[in-house]
């Protein structure tokens, strides 16, 4: 039993999109789809402005709204890994989960007729590898590990860097944290 989680340190993100491309390559996704995408935004007021990029993906919520709205059980939370997964053989492509995900993390593929998203590369993780976006990140902005293990790298880094989850006000309890 584990509860996998990730820390994304925005101060180390070079905004290079290697994570997006690694995900698209590994899972053979078309150019307009990826498990990870980058949002670019500006903060501050002139002249003290900053351009920042926020890598967004499935937050692997512990209380995932996509799972509760799913009428078929295709979206489910896997208790062995603490991740949210999609059983494509049960997905009917109703897209209720896309409406329900506050992070815009889910995509509908018109070619397959089902919904896809970041899986935390759970197959690679089972083989002892890290998720593709973590492995490829040139700035080592991403730390992956078991949130249930108090001594894991991801837990220590998240505590040291005062990492926060996005939109925790919605009660989704994400497993992806951001440091900035």
């Amino acid at each position: 039993m584990a509860h996998y989680g990730m820390l994304i340190d925005l101060t180390m993100c070079a905004q290079c999109s290697a994570c997006t491309v690694a995900c698209q390559t590994l899972y053979d996704r078309p150019p307009d789809q990826s498990g990870v995408y980058l949002l670019t935004y500006e903060t501050g007021t002139f002249p003290a402005v900053k351009r920042t990029t926020l890598p967004v993906q499935c937050m692997q919520c512990q209380n995932p709204p996509c799972v509760s709205v799913c009428p078929t059980g295709a979206s489910y939370r896997d208790s062995a890994t603490g991740t949210v997964q999609i059983d494509a053989s049960r997905c009917i492509g109703c897209r209720y989960c896309i409406a329900a995900c506050p992070y815009g993390a889910r995509q509908y593929s018109s070619t397959t007729g089902v919904v896809t998203k970041c899986t935390f590369c759970i197959g690679r993780v089972a083989d002892g590898l890290e998720p593709a976006c973590v492995e490829t990140c040139i700035g080592h902005a991403r730390v992956f590990g078991d949130l249930d293990d108090p001594g894991s790298d991801v837990n220590r880094a998240a505590a040291e860097r005062h990492a926060v989850a996005l939109r925790s006000d919605l009660g989704t309890r994400p497993s992806v944290y951001y440091a900035s």
Binding site: V69, P71, I92, R95, A100, Y103, L166, R167
Partner: protein, 296 residues
């Protein structure tokens, strides 16, 4: 991929869902209209026509929803829709729609093959018609990520609109078989007028709470009232769908206009406008839904 650095319109659902929500409301409302008309012992076609209309209209809407599914319209996988009624509003809705369709076919078409129409069956079918109407609103209402939808007033609005459009559809159907429908008696128009007023009040409250709610709800509100959807809102919903039908209901009792407004053409015209308004309501609520920004 959505640009969630700011409030962003939802892209999950479009036209087919809008039409489906509208038709489910019309069918449920038509059934309720005939049920109400027979309880009030209204004569003519009204107590019957809605019972005939309900099943085909709701079935057509459900069929559109099935066409909207990505997995292939008649893939066996769609039966998984029945598996999660206690957690997913869509799965619960599938059960409600299925039960309503079965009941309304028996109640509506049973007499054609010699089955006697039982009062208790009509009452149970009416209960499920109500549940269909409530469910179309709750389908959107439970989505927390889209604050404009996440309002208890969405099911209230959709139920009132279902009643209103159901009356309109039943009156239109009844006119076909009986040209004098609603020509003399004011029972239906009085009742309809009350529903239109309630719908207008619910709409005002819904928009007021959206305007004073989270930023994504305010964004949706602005889009509807002053933004890109303003013409559809003010003309399609408010003027054609609410103000004109209300004025019609009120004016047809005025002695000077009574003769003209009670003609079949005017009765039908009002009913068509109510249906137009009901369609615009679903269109506006669905397409103005927006996801909130995901960071500070």
């Amino acid at each position: 991929m959505p640009e969630l650095i700011q409030n962003t319109l939802q892209t999950a659902w479009g036209w087919l869902v809008i039409i489906y929500l509208f038709l489910a409301g019309v069918g449920a409302g038509a059934y309720l209209t005939s049920w109400w008309a027979s309880n009030r012992d209204l004569g003519g076609a009204l107590p019957v026509v809605g019972r005939y209309l309900a099943a085909p209209v709701v079935a057509l809407g459900s069929l559109l929803l099935v066409f909207d599914l990505g997995a292939g319209s008649f893939h066996a996988r769609i039966f998984y829709l029945y598996t999660h009624p206690f957690t997913s509003m869509m799965s619960l809705g599938t059960w409600i729609l299925t039960i309503f369709l079965v009941l309304s076919v028996i109640d509506g078409y049973g007499p054609l093959v010699g089955v006697r129409r039982a009062r208790w069956l009509g009452d149970v079918t009416a209960l499920f018609a109500g549940l269909v109407a409530v469910y179309t609103g709750l389908l959107l209402g439970v989505v927390k990520a889209i604050p404009f939808w996440n309002s208890a007033l969405v099911p209230v609005l959709f139920v009132l609109s279902a009643a209103s459009t159901g009356i309109a559809a039943t009156v239109l159907g009844a006119l076909v078989v009986q040209r004098s429908t609603c020509g003399e008696d004011d029972t239906v128009t009085r009742f309809h007028q009350g529903i239109i007023v309630s719908e207008a009040v619910a709409l005002a409250l819904f928009l007021f709470f959206a305007a004073s709610g989270p930023s994504a709800a305010h964004f949706s509100y602005s889009r509807v009232v002053v933004g890109g959807l303003a013409a559809a809102f003010w003309v399609g919903l408010v003027a054609l769908g609410l103000v004109v039908p209300f004025a019609y209901c009120a004016l047809r009792r005025a002695p000077a206009l009574a003769h003209m407004l009670r003609s079949p053409g005017w009765v039908a015209g009002e009913a068509v406008l109510v249906l137009v308004g009901g369609f615009f309501l679903r269109y506006l609520v669905v397409s103005a839904g927006a996801l909130g920004r995901i960071m500070g």
